[in-house]
Symmetry: C2
Subunit: 84 residues, 2 copies
Amino acid sequence: MFLAKINVTLKPTVNDPQGTTVLGGLKSLGFNSVKDVRVGKFLEVKVDETDPSKARSVVNDMCEKLLANPVIEQYSVELVEDPG
Amino acid sequence: MFLAKINVTLKPTVNDPQGTTVLGGLKSLGFNSVKDVRVGKFLEVKVDETDPSKARSVVNDMCEKLLANPVIEQYSVELVEDPG
């Protein structure tokens, strides 16, 4: 069993209005040292595979097909062994 | 300047209907080895501070006040130095 920790973020060239809104919120709360905010998704996916390279290829496949939009988003996967 | 990479997740005891929906989607796409999905937020925040411990305390403060809901969510912060 593996636990995949997946970060999905907008590509750097893509506008992030949600991040801009959060930035405005932080500034209005008095956090004047904040310069930029980008917002993405974080997913934890448990896959029942025994081989780490197979697990990674399955998770990458999930990202391409459902979890990320490859046109505007990029993703990174960290795979850790999970006892249960 | 520091870049804070923040993962915000629901506490383990809190139901995650969004994760359940993604799990169903993955299964219906034929990913039968997937066992569990939890969905959270990922934020990248640039803060203009020189001292890492000050930067960390500012970012923790942001999480408590705006970025996470401490009643049902937990967060983790990774701080990396950012050239600009």
